[in-house]
């Protein structure tokens, strides 16, 4: 009976040790890194369906369903981050199953904080938007944003452009040296083709200007 008890206790302890060796949870405190917002990436969203299509390869979108997926990032740190991540993950991957876990890394190594705060977002139509808004018109007042996707936003509602900027300018920690948000047009352009210029102004008086791809809006009746 005594030997049986010792055997059970030893087995339980051995199993516990084995489990702790495989599933290591000894992550170091993450290093805080500040990143600059010096580059942007704008891609077209086709918002005609139930869910926004972030991966549309078409340049033809319903004129009333045009949106933009925008990423602001630090061009230097972003590259370093994605290069360093696999090595970091391999270092902390479980002993026996390193290969399988090479890309599924549970430890947080860095916390990123933006150096600048966004102050303004401006959108210019580079071609005629409609009869009242010719080329070079500021159409920022026709924009709404979607950024945190909680509360009413999780149910598909948007933020005003002002609220979007307010949200983006709040100090927060990011898991990578970049952040993304979405902008949507509240009015349909009445034109065969259109391109927009977006300017992001920051509190250190720096700015990023980028242009969208050429878009061929489909009028409603052609759908």
């Amino acid at each position: 009976m005594f030997r049986k008890t010792i055997f059970i206790i030893t087995t339980v302890l051995a199993l516990k040790l084995l489990v702790s060796c495989i599933f290591r949870c000894d992550c170091d405190d993450p290093e805080e890194i500040e990143f600059a917002l010096n580059t942007s990436h704008i891609s077209l969203i086709d918002n005609a369906g139930y869910y926004p299509d972030y991966h549309t390869t078409s340049d033809t979108v319903s004129s009333r369903a045009i949106g933009f997926d925008i990423t602001l990032s630090d061009s230097i740190i972003t590259g370093q981050y994605f290069t360093a991540l696999p090595t970091k993950c391999e270092q902390t991957a479980p002993i026996f199953i390193k290969g399988a876990y090479a890309w599924s890394c549970d430890c947080v190594f860095w916390e990123f904080k933006a150096k600048q705060k966004i102050k303004a977002i401006r959108m210019i139509a580079l071609t005629d938007f409609n009869q009242d808004l010719p080329a070079q018109s500021d159409i920022s007042h026709l924009l709404v944003g979607r950024v945190d996707q909680s509360g009413f936003e999780a149910h598909g509602m948007y933020k005003t452009l002002e609220k979007t900027i307010e949200y983006l300018s709040e100090e927060r920690i990011y898991s990578s040296p970049e952040y993304s948000f979405e902008l949507y047009l509240t009015e349909a352009p009445v034109t065969d083709s259109i391109r927009f210029e977006l300017t992001f102004e920051f509190d250190d008086n720096s700015f990023i200007t980028d242009t969208t791809q050429m878009i061929y809006p489909l009028p409603m009746f052609e759908l």
């Binding site: 005609a48 979607r146 999780a154």
Partner: protein, 288 residues
């Protein structure tokens, strides 16, 4: 459900036996019974969302819910009686109750009570899918289709009369009660997205409490089967009809594009005449 009924019955048992031992109660009975109810509610042609159209949304009589109740009847001094009934419906939550005091004048009695009667607003989002197919319901990056449904409780006081005929083996009781009820407040909203468009809007409903009269005739039969120790064991059969005229007013908030862009108005849909039939069968234990 069985466990909840056992707990409720146990609670009633303890309450009544304690009261008996304290010599407040001269005798008592405890009933356990299974019932069915059938609700009839005619839809209105109201243009906006009328929650009553989805309130026990049955336009013909058929069994729409089972319930399991436990009740205790106490015979107290000075010709007073008390009746406590609690039960669970399909939600398995003990959300129905009826507390009643009765002053007896020979075979006639006067009832004073308070009751909580649960109902269910079911699939009210159908209002949108029936209205148009030009938009998506509850669009959102993190969302799938969801339902607009909630429990409504009609709670309020009542009064009425009853007639009881009782002999050694048989009891017949007939009640007619009339009362006022108030429904609980609730809140729901739906977000809609126009197809082929960025346009989204939300419609939020803040359901208000409103009063309604109701009428509830009831019948009760008991037949003694055998005697066990100091108790008579018998079967009971009950039936009732509930009539009310109910409306569900609400504050309606429509938001276009953003949360801030809101318009609010008060909406009062028409009252519906709601009929409910119920019948039950169970056992009764009576202390002599």
């Amino acid at each position: 459900m069985k466990t909840k009924l056992i707990i409720l019955t146990g609670f009633l048992w303890i309450l009544t036996t304690e009261a008996t031992e304290a010599q407040l109660v001269q005798r008592y009975s405890i009933d356990g019974f299974l019932g069915v109810k059938s609700t009839f509610n005619k839809n209105s042609d109201f243009e906006g969302l009328d929650f009553m159209n989805y309130f026990e949304n049955y336009e013909e009589y058929y069994i729409d819910e089972f319930y399991l109740n436990a009740s205790s009847h106490l015979w107290i001094k000075n010709n007073w009686e008390a009746d406590l009934e609690v039960g669970v419906g399909s939600s398995l939550i003990p959300n129905r109750f009826d507390l009643r005091a009765i002053k007896r004048f020979n075979k006639l009695g006067i009832n004073f009570g308070i009751e909580n009667r649960p109902f269910f607003v079911y699939e009210a989002e159908l209002y949108y899918s029936e209205a148009s197919t030009s938009f998506y319901i509850n669009h959102g990056p993190n969302l799938s289709y969801s339902y607009i449904q909630f429990d409504l409780f009609l709670l309020g006081p009542y009064s009425g009369i009853n007639y009881t005929f009782e002999n050694e083996k048989f009891i017949f009781r007939g009640d007619i009660n009339a009362g006022l009820s108030l429904n609980n407040r609730d809140h729901c909203y739906v977000t809609l997205k126009e197809k082929n468009s960025n346009y989204v809007w939300s419609e939020e409903y803040l359901i208000k409490s409103s009063a309604a009269w109701w009428l509830n005739p009831e019948l009760y039969f008991y037949v003694k089967l055998f005697r066990f120790n100091t108790f008579d064991i018998g079967i009971r059969v009950g039936a009732g009809y509930y009539l009310t005229q109910k409306k569900l007013p609400y504050d309606y908030i429509e938001r276009h594009w953003t949360y801030e862009n809101a318009e609010q108005q008060h909406i009062t849909p028409p009252a519906h005449l709601l009929h409910q039939l119920n019948a039950d069968f169970g056992i009764s234990v009576r202390m002599k």
